[in-house]
C-alpha cells in the first residue's frame, strides 16, 4: 500500500519538476548568451586597440549604432567622476555622467588672483612740460604691477581689490564691494573705485588701447584718473529699444588738484547716463553723458562730459577684424578760474589680423590751474599712432609714437614702448 503510494508520487514530482528544470536551462542559456555577447565586444575592442597600436586603420565596426533613447543621468552623489561610457547599443540608454570638478576643494574659497605687469620703454628728449622740470623717466621702467583679488563675499556681494605696485609704492587702486543681487534693477558699489565719468576714466592700464592717458584725462583729473572713496548706485532703465543705465555716485571730496574738502562733510558727486544700442549684429553704438561736481578751496569744481563709442566687429570674422571709434569731450568749470576749460580726444582703432592692431588718436585739452604744466588755460594738442601685437590673450606689445604741443610753442616727440603680461585669473572687465 505504501509502495503504491510512492509510485503515484513519482509522476507527479516528475511533471512538477519539468518546468523548473526548463526554467533553469533557459536562464543558463540566457546568461551564456549575454556572456558571449560581452566577450565578443571585448574581443572587438581588443582588436581595435591592436589596430590602433599598429597604426593601421580600424575596420568598420559591426553596426555599433548607439540607442540614444536609453541615455540617462547618473546618480548625483557619486564620489568620483564616472568613467567614459562605452557606446551602448542605443542612445536611448545613455546616462548622464556625474562630473566632479573639485580635486582641490580646500582652495575653492581662494579668490581669483592675478598680476599684470606694465613694462614701459621710452625714447626721445625729456618732457618737462608734462612730467615736470625734472623729467627723469628712465628708458626702461616696470611702471606698475597690478595685483587683483576677486571673489564672491557671500550670496549678495562680490569683492574686487586692485593694488597698484609701482616705484612710488603700493596703492589701493580700487577696492570695493559690488552688490549684484539688489532689487528694482539696481546694482551698487561701496569702497574705493574709479568714477564712472565717460569711458577712458574707468579703464585700468591694461585695458587702454594706448600706452598713455589721453591729454584730457591727464590734464583734468591727473594720472590717477577721477577716483575716490564712496558709494555708487546704478539702475537699468526699462527701455525696449536700447540698454539704458543711470548711475549716481557720491565721494569724499578729495582728489589732489581736482577736489578739496573744506569741511568734514564735503562730498563730490558724479552722475552718468549710458545708452547702448545694437545697430546690427556686427555693429553697435554707445552714448554717455556725465556730470560731476565737488568742492575746491575757493568754491566748486564741476565737470561735464559726453562720450560716443562706435564698434564694428563682424561676428564670423571677429577673430581677425574690428573697428572701434571713440570720442570723449569734457568741460571743466572751476570757481577759481575765469573761464570754462575744454578738452577732447578722438580715436580710431583697427584690427589688422588675429594678433595685430593699429590706431590713431587726436588730443586737445586745456591745462587746469592745479595741474598745469605750462600755464592754466593754455591748450595742449597731440597726435598719436599705435601698433599693437598680442602674442597671446595674456600678453601684448605696443609701440606708440606721439607728438604733443604744449601751449603754443613747446613740442615733444616721443616713442613709447609697452609690454604687458598677465598671470593668474583676472576677471573680465565690463564692456
Amino acid at each position: 500500500m505504501a509502495h503504491r503510494g510512492h509510485r503515484a508520487l513519482f509522476p507527479i514530482l516528475f511533471f512538477a519538476a519539468l518546468p523548473a528544470f526548463a526554467q533553469t536551462t533557459d536562464d543558463r542559456v540566457s546568461q551564456l548568451e549575454k556572456r558571449l555577447d560581452a566577450l565578443t565586444q571585448e574581443v572587438a575592442q581588443i582588436r581595435q586597440e591592436i589596430d590602433r597600436l599598429k597604426g593601421t586603420p580600424a575596420p568598420a565596426p559591426a553596426a555599433a549604432a548607439e540607442d540614444l533613447t536609453k541615455v540617462e543621468v547618473a546618480p548625483p552623489a557619486a564620489a568620483q567622476p564616472a568613467p567614459a561610457s562605452q557606446p551602448s547599443s542605443a542612445l536611448t540608454d545613455v546616462q548622464t555622467v556625474n562630473n566632479v570638478f573639485n580635486p582641490a576643494a580646500s582652495k575653492v574659497f581662494n579668490p581669483d588672483t592675478s598680476v599684470i605687469g606694465n613694462f614701459i620703454g621710452k625714447a626721445g628728449p625729456a618732457n618737462p612740460y608734462e612730467f615736470g622740470p625734472n623729467d627723469e623717466r628712465s628708458p626702461f621702467k616696470l611702471d606698475e604691477a597690478e595685483i587683483a583679488f576677486q571673489a564672491f563675499v557671500d550670496p549678495y556681494a562680490k569683492a574686487n581689490f586692485f593694488f597698484s605696485v609701482s616705484p612710488e609704492g603700493i596703492d589701493v587702486e580700487e577696492g570695493y564691494a559690488q552688490f549684484v543681487t539688489l532689487p528694482w534693477g539696481l546694482t551698487a558699489k561701496a569702497g574705493k573705485f574709479k568714477a564712472l565719468f565717460g569711458k577712458a576714466n574707468t579703464w585700468h592700464t591694461h585695458v587702454r588701447p594706448w600706452v598713455d592717458q589721453p591729454l584730457v584725462i591727464h590734464n583734468f583729473f591727473g594720472d590717477e584718473q577721477f577716483h575716490g572713496e564712496g558709494i555708487s548706485v546704478s539702475k537699468a532703465i526699462p527701455v525696449t529699444a536700447a540698454f539704458v543705465e543711470a548711475t549716481g555716485e557720491l565721494y569724499s571730496s578729495e582728489l589732489p588738484g581736482v577736489f578739496e574738502r573744506r569741511k568734514a562733510s564735503d562730498v563730490a558727486w558724479n552722475t552718468h547716463l549710458k545708452a547702448f544700442k545694437d545697430i546690427s549684429e556686427n555693429s553697435n553704438i554707445e552714448l554717455g553723458m556725465s556730470w560731476a561736481r565737488g568742492t575746491i578751496a575757493d568754491g566748486h569744481n564741476a565737470f561735464g562730459g559726453v562720450d560716443v563709442t562706435y564698434r564694428w566687429k563682424p561676428l564670423q570674422q571677429g577673430l581677425y577684424r574690428g573697428v572701434v571709434g571713440r570720442f570723449e569731450g569734457m568741460v571743466d568749470k572751476r570757481d577759481d578760474f575765469d573761464r570754462r576749460l575744454r578738452g577732447f580726444y578722438a580715436s580710431l582703432d583697427y584690427q589688422l589680423a588675429q594678433r595685430w592692431f593699429t590706431g590713431v588718436r587726436l588730443d586737445s585739452a586745456d591745462e587746469t590751474p592745479s595741474l598745469a604744466q605750462v600755464a592754466p588755460g593754455t591748450r595742449d594738442r597731440g597726435v598719436s599712432a599705435t601698433l599693437t601685437f598680442w602674442p597671446s590673450e595674456f600678453s601684448q606689445i605696443r609701440g606708440q609714437l606721439r607728438r604733443t604741443k604744449y601751449g603754443d610753442v613747446k613740442t615733444a616727440n616721443e616713442l613709447l614702448l609697452q609690454l604687458q603680461f598677465a598671470i593668474g585669473a583676472h576677471g573680465a572687465h565690463a564692456f
Partner: protein, 301 residues
C-alpha cells in the same frame, strides 16, 4: 448667477496653466537653445547669446545681452570655463539674482556629460588649455541626450506642472536623435579610424563618436595661430600618416589650412561646431549633424 460666476472662476483656474507665460530661457550657445526647444516646446521662450558662426570663446559682453539676462528664468551654460572671458561681467550687471551660479535658475550642463581631455597638469605655456577639460562636448550625440536630460530635469523643477509635458518631449527627442544617429553612424562606418587634422581642439567628442583619429592640429597650441615651423611639421606628419581631411570651423582663417591641404592632398572641410553655424542646414541639433556628416563623408570618399 452665483453658479455661473463659480463656473467661470473654475474655468479660469483650469485654463490658467494653458495660458501660463513660457519660461524665459537664455543659453550661452545656440546648441543649448536648440536642445531646450526640443525639450521645452511651446512652454519655453529661448534666446542664445553667442551665434553659431562665431567663436564661443570670444563673445563681446555687450550691454544688449543684459536685456536678455535681466528677465531670464533660466540661464544654461556650457561650463568648463568656455564662457569665462565674457559671461561673468554680464552676470554681475544682469540685475537678476535668480540666474547667478548656484541658484535654481542656473544650469551648467557640463556637470552631467562625458568630458574628454582633462589635463592633469596645466599652465599657460601649453596655450589656452581649459583646465577642467575640453568644453566642446556637445558635439557628441550621446552628450546631446545627456544635456537634454539635464534640461528636462531643470525645466520640470522650475515648472512642476509641466513636468509630464517636458518628459514626453524628452522621450520623443531621444527617439528622434536615436534614429538619426543610426544613419550618421552607418554613413560614417566606412571611415572609422580615418586620420584627420583639425584646426582647433574642438572635435574630440565628435571624433570619438565617429571613430576618427585626430593626429594633429593646425594651431600649434590651443588659441595660438599657426606658425611657419609648426605648419611645416604638420605637413610632414600629414604626408607620413596619409591624412585625408582637415576639419575647420567657419570662423577661422582658411588661408593656412588651405595651403596645407594643397601641399598634402588632403581636403579642407568646413564643419560647423554649433547650431546656426551656417545660413542653412544647421537650424537645429539634428540638422547640424546631418550637414556635418554629409560634408565629412564627401571629403573622406
Amino acid at each position: 448667477m452665483k453658479r455661473i460666476l463659480l463656473s467661470l472662476a473654475a474655468l479660469t483656474l483650469i485654463a490658467a496653466p494653458a495660458f501660463a507665460v513660457p519660461l524665459k530661457v537664455v543659453t550661452t550657445i545656440q546648441d543649448l537653445a536648440s536642445l531646450t526647444k526640443e525639450v521645452g516646446g511651446d512652454r519655453v521662450d529661448v534666446s542664445s547669446i553667442a551665434r553659431g558662426y562665431q567663436d564661443p570663446h570670444f563673445v563681446e559682453p555687450k550691454p544688449s545681452f543684459l536685456l536678455l539676462l535681466r528677465n531670464a528664468d533660466l540661464l544654461e551654460v556650457v561650463g568648463l570655463e568656455l564662457e569665462i572671458g565674457w559671461l561673468p561681467p554680464l552676470l554681475d550687471q544682469s540685475r537678476n539674482p535668480n540666474i547667478l551660479p548656484g541658484t535654481k535658475g542656473y544650469l551648467d550642463v557640463s556637470h552631467g556629460v562625458e568630458i574628454l581631455e582633462r589635463p592633469t597638469v596645466v599652465n599657460r605655456s601649453m596655450g589656452d588649455v581649459h583646465p577642467l577639460g575640453n568644453p566642446h562636448f556637445w558635439l557628441d550625440p550621446a552628450n546631446a541626450v545627456r544635456i537634454a536630460i539635464q534640461i528636462e530635469q531643470k525645466l520640470a523643477e522650475l515648472r512642476p506642472a509641466d513636468a509630464p509635458y517636458f518628459a514626453q518631449r524628452l522621450n520623443a527627442f531621444k527617439v528622434k536623435i536615436n534614429e538619426a544617429n543610426k544613419h550618421w553612424l552607418a554613413e560614417m562606418a566606412p571611415y572609422r579610424g580615418a586620420k584627420v587634422v583639425t584646426y582647433h581642439a574642438s572635435w574630440p567628442n565628435f571624433a570619438k563618436h565617429f571613430g576618427l583619429d585626430v593626429v594633429g592640429y593646425v594651431e600649434p597650441k590651443p588659441g595660438v595661430p599657426p606658425s611657419p615651423s609648426h605648419t611645416f611639421e604638420l605637413i610632414n606628419l600629414m604626408k607620413a600618416q596619409h591624412v585625408k581631411a582637415i576639419l575647420m570651423e567657419p570662423y577661422f582663417d582658411a588661408k593656412t589650412p588651405q595651403s596645407i591641404a594643397e601641399r598634402t592632398g588632403a581636403k579642407l572641410v568646413v564643419l560647423y561646431p554649433s547650431v546656426g553655424g551656417a545660413k542653412s542646414g544647421t537650424d537645429d541639433y539634428i540638422s547640424l549633424f546631418n550637414t556635418n556628416v554629409a560634408n565629412l563623408v564627401k571629403a573622406l570618399q
